[in-house]
């Protein structure tokens, strides 16, 4: 594998839980008892230079996980250790220092760049905040970065509106790399882009990782994109992590029925394969995280659910070395056709 496990994990997330107050009213539901259970008891670790993919449908808590790690949200409970220090317990000064090593790439290249700043100002801002180098040195770094991400360094004084979506995402990437961080949280970095541009940006992220040894937490809903870029992949459903393994095992031997159905639902651009492969089409919508189902949260849509599933939470167990899964009846064999009740 490309990444290094000898020095221990760069990031360690332990039993992370994030709840938001639910309900409406004058105080935004601050005094109401119901909560949105966005992330529930999630644990994983990321090693230096690794790409860890986090995949799931909208509302499954993947972005909240990323934001809570960065402490854009405070965790409700659980711990996040970055380079051995607990992010949840950091004060303002420690947080600032921590964020020098942990940066973020956002989904929307239109909303995440200030339209009134030149791209030179945008990319140099992290260096300005952290007091890196002199003005001239910073501009020199910006030019280098522009060149590395495939933009013309002469465009340093242009504004975001003068660039296309793919080019703007390159600006966002250059900004994230300005401080040469150890970890970058990429929240759906390519989902707003057209497929030909998406491939350009994925290749760029891979090149930059090879060059700087950065680790990525790569959050996306597109399984084929996540598979392409990740060393290990975690699947989330309704705030819970349901399966983690290396990318290859996850795609060849998915254990969890949700992973199996998710994989089978991805459209394959090949009519021969598409027509012959077996598809598991889940019935219904994901339930609300305000009142998640008891027991296994997936049991309401699970094609192989049994009585036990609605009563007991499945244990997070290691089904093979490095391959974890939370399902009472997990098996490496794909769900049989007869189980599918539509």
């Amino acid at each position: 594998m490309a990444f290094d496990t000898s020095q221990g994990p760069l990031l360690k997330v332990e039993h992370l839980t994030k709840e938001f107050p639910a309900g409406s009213g004058v105080f935004g539901g601050r005094f109401s008892k119901s909560v949105v259970s966005a992330v529930n008891d999630v644990s994983f670790e990321i090693y230096p230079g690794e790409t860890f993919g986090l995949v799931g449908e909208s509302g499954c808590g993947k972005s909240t996980t990323g934001r809570t790690i960065m402490r854009l949200n405070r965790p409700t409970s659980g711990k996040v250790f970055f380079q051995g220090r607990d992010v949840a317990a950091m004060n303002h000064r420690e947080l600032k220092a921590m964020r020098r090593d942990m940066q973020f790439i956002f989904q929307d290249p239109y909303a995440s760049l200030n339209p009134r700043m030149t791209i030179g100002e945008i990319i140099s801002e992290p260096m300005t905040i952290h007091g890196v180098g002199t003005m001239e040195e910073r501009m020199e770094t910006v030019r280098e970065l522009l060149d590395v991400v495939g933009l013309n360094p002469e465009h340093i004084n242009r504004y975001p509106h003068e660039f296309s979506g793919g080019q703007r995402q390159r600006v966002g990437i250059a900004r994230a790399f300005a401080l040469k961080p150890k970890l970058i949280i990429c929240d759906e970095p390519v989902s707003a882009l057209d497929v030909s541009i998406q491939a350009q940006v994925l290749n760029l992220l891979k090149d930059l990782q090879d060059r700087y040894g950065t680790a990525y937490l790569f959050i996306a809903h597109d399984l084929s994109v996540v598979q392409h870029i990740s060393d290990r992949v975690a699947v989330m459903y309704l705030g819970k992590m349901v399966e983690v393994s290396d990318w290859k095992t996850l795609y060849t031997e998915p254990h969890h029925p949700y992973t199996q159905s998710l994989l089978s639902a991805v459209p394959v651009p090949d009519p021969d394969i598409q027509k012959t492969r077996k598809r598991i089409i889940l019935a219904g919508d994901p339930p609300s995280p305000i009142d998640p189902p008891t027991g296994c949260r997936f049991h309401t849509r699970c094609p192989i659910a049994q009585a036990k599933c609605s009563q007991e939470q499945p244990e997070w167990r290691e089904v093979a070395p490095g391959h974890f899964c939370a399902c009472h009846f997990a098996s490496p064999f794909p769900i049989k056709e007869s189980h599918i009740d539509l």
Partner: protein
């Protein structure tokens, strides 16, 4: 007008008239629609041609700004003119000219004969009307149903598209529905008048992958039942792989390749189609190959490059490509590609991407050679 319900004569509906001998249900020929803006002429639709028959599904594939939506909005008369202007070409539906149809008649065609589903189910449903009213609106308008009849039919339609408890849900508002459920409502609405052609503009792009699978299956089921034709507009080649009979690939307002699904996926003759196929991460199980993106960005439609519009991004472009606009090279089966080298078998063989079929063939050939070698 006078009573609760008026009977509307539907025998005059275009969809009940026969397709003229030797013609197709829908015939689009060299359609051109340009926007005349302050910044110059934007060639949004520049020579689109295709035919469609009942029961068929056409996939229209292209990136944002390639003209796939605007082509179909033009056909439906939904583009404000000006700034838009039809610059040439024709659209015939069952032998009737859609581009020169009086607006009153066109209004009857929209929703009744040809219906559309839009990408974003949130913005295309009216937030202040109940679902039942919106689903039944077409029936009231085109069929003269009474309120009660329309509501009753709306319940049946919601049931048909798989919405649980339809009697209760017709009285709810769009915000009470999830994204997937709203898209089901859109489909129910589009199918209310039993249209001949359903134009679905990125119907699953805003949805999660498990919901996308549900919606595509639903559209196929409905097509089997009603026999309507579908035009599926999408940027995702995967979505059209198993449902499209024919595929049109668009780039910069022009169709660059058209053919059956098999021809587009396994015998493609256009470098842009190859680029699209190569840009999609493969579900590799042994080894990851780097993606081959298409370099650069799509051109501005107001300032198109000379010659072939794809030439600035095409890895195989020659001086000829940069100077002359390519004619369509057409095979005997109606498969065409707008590329100077689409007829050059060596060029295609050398540069076309591997497909699951070509790999099978090359493996079989290797096996043959091995057995031959073994014998010798």
């Amino acid at each position: 007008m006078f009573g609760k319900s008026k009977t509307v004569d539907t025998s005059q509906d275009l969809k009940n008239q026969p397709v003229p001998e030797g013609h197709h249900l829908l015939e689009v020929d060299d359609l051109k629609m340009y926007f005349h803006t302050e910044d110059g002429v934007v060639r949004a639709v520049d020579g689109v041609s295709y035919t469609l028959d009942r029961g068929e599904t056409l996939g229209v594939v292209g990136e944002s700004g390639s003209g796939k939506s605007v082509t179909h909005m033009t056909m439906m008369g939904l583009i404000p003119m000006p700034p838009g202007k039809i610059e040439g070409g024709s659209v015939f539906y069952r032998g009737h000219d859609l581009l020169n149809m009086p607006e009153a008649q066109m209004q009857h065609v929209r929703g009744n004969d040809i219906a559309m589903i839009f990408q974003d189910p949130m913005t295309s449903l009216n937030p202040v009307y109940k679902i039942g009213k919106q689903v039944g609106e077409g029936l009231r308008l085109h069929r003269g149903y009474s309120k009660e009849q329309a509501l009753k039919r709306a319940v049946e339609l919601l049931d048909a598209v798989g919405i649980p408890e339809p009697e209760k849900r017709v009285n709810e508002y769009p915000h009470q529905f999830s994204g997937g459920m709203r898209q089901r409502v859109m489909i129910a609405m589009a199918l209310a008048c039993d249209p001949d052609i359903l134009i679905a503009d990125e119907p699953t792009t805003a949805l999660d992958v498990t919901i996308q699978a549900q919606i595509i299956e639903l559209m196929q089921e409905m097509q089997e039942k009603n026999g309507n034709a579908i035009v599926m507009i999408t940027h995702d080649l995967g979505v059209v792989a198993d449902i499209a009979d024919k595929i049109m690939v668009m780039y910069a307002g022009r169709p660059v390749e058209f053919g059956t699904a098999d021809e587009i996926f396994y015998e493609s003759r256009h470098p842009y189609t190859w680029g699209l196929i190569r840009s999609i991460p493969e579900q590799a199980t042994d080894e990851k190959k780097p993606l081959t993106p298409i370099h650069g960005n799509p051109p501005a439609l107001s300032n198109l490059p000379k010659g072939c519009v794809f030439s600035p991004r095409c890895p195989y472009a020659t001086d000829k490509c940069r100077a002359e606009r390519p004619e369509r090279f057409e095979t005997g089966t109606g498969h065409y590609a707008a590329c100077h080298y689409a007829g050059d078998a060596d060029f295609i063989k050398k540069n076309a991407p591997d497909t699951s079929r070509s790999r099978k063939v090359s493996v079989a050939m290797l096996d043959q050679e091995e057995t031959k070698g073994g014998e010798a």
